[in-house]
């Protein structure tokens, strides 16, 4: 089990009902982590439409979970 903090923004936060949560997870990589959280919170957006960031920098879906890291799932942006 790896303890991570997950940040939710925009529609993901609305669906999760919280802006962040700290969880003990045993997902193989960030893609598996999203799949499991998507099931838990009913996220409508597939991983293919998201980007993922770890500790404030964009990361790869196949990166593993690091103990104590802060993970953000980035839905399609709409600034400007």
């Amino acid at each position: 089990m790896t303890r991570v903090t997950v940040l939710y923004f925009a529609s993901l936060r609305d669906a999760a009902g919280v802006p962040s949560e700290t969880l003990d997870m045993d997902a193989a990589d960030l893609r598996a982590l999203y799949a499991s959280l998507q099931m838990r919170h009913g996220f409508a957006l597939p991983a293919g439409r998201l980007r993922v960031a770890v500790d404030g920098a964009f990361a790869r879906w196949e990166d593993g979970l690091r103990e104590g890291s802060e993970i953000a799932f980035i839905p399609p942006v709409s600034g400007g």
Binding site: F9, S11, A53, G56, A57, P75, S78
Partner: protein, 141 residues
């Protein structure tokens, strides 16, 4: 140097423009995104922008760094509002100074396009009909 900024209060254009002035610059191009009263055919009553602030600042700065490297420009800045905005308010501002207008226009266009595509900021619109939505547009084709 921070060329990209998030702002929680109205953007002061004159002060930003002054940061771009230099005696070698003969051309200045700027772009502003204003809050419209409609979007995709729906009447908009109000909106707010949310950012993943830490990543928005670093990714925005990266966009400006890329513009400085890619175009023959003197300086560039971009400021994006976050929080609640009224119809007509300035949501995003880009300014670029350069010796010549080709580079100023091209860099200004590059910055707004990349900021809109890459920087983690989200728009939440409230419609006159009472509905509300986060905008998560499909990738540009």
């Amino acid at each position: 140097m921070t060329r990209f900024r998030l702002a929680e209060a109205p953007i002061e254009i004159a002060a930003l423009r002054a940061e771009l002035a230099c005696e070698q610059a003969g051309a200045y191009a700027s772009f502003e995104g204003w809050v419209r009263d409609h979007n995709a055919g729906r009447a908009v009553r109000g909106l707010h922008y949310e950012a993943y602030a830490a990543l928005a600042r670093s990714e925005g700065e990266r966009v400006l760094d890329e513009a400085m490297a890619k175009f023959a420009i003197a300086e560039a800045r971009c400021v994006h509002r976050i929080g609640e905005l009224a119809i007509g308010e300035l949501a995003v501002w880009v300014g670029v100074s350069a010796a010549h207008r080709d580079a100023a226009f091209a860099a200004c266009r590059f910055v707004i396009d990349e900021v809109k595509a890459r920087v983690p900021i989200w728009k939440h619109e409230r419609y006159v009909d009472g509905d509300a939505d986060w905008l998560h547009p499909p990738p540009a084709t």
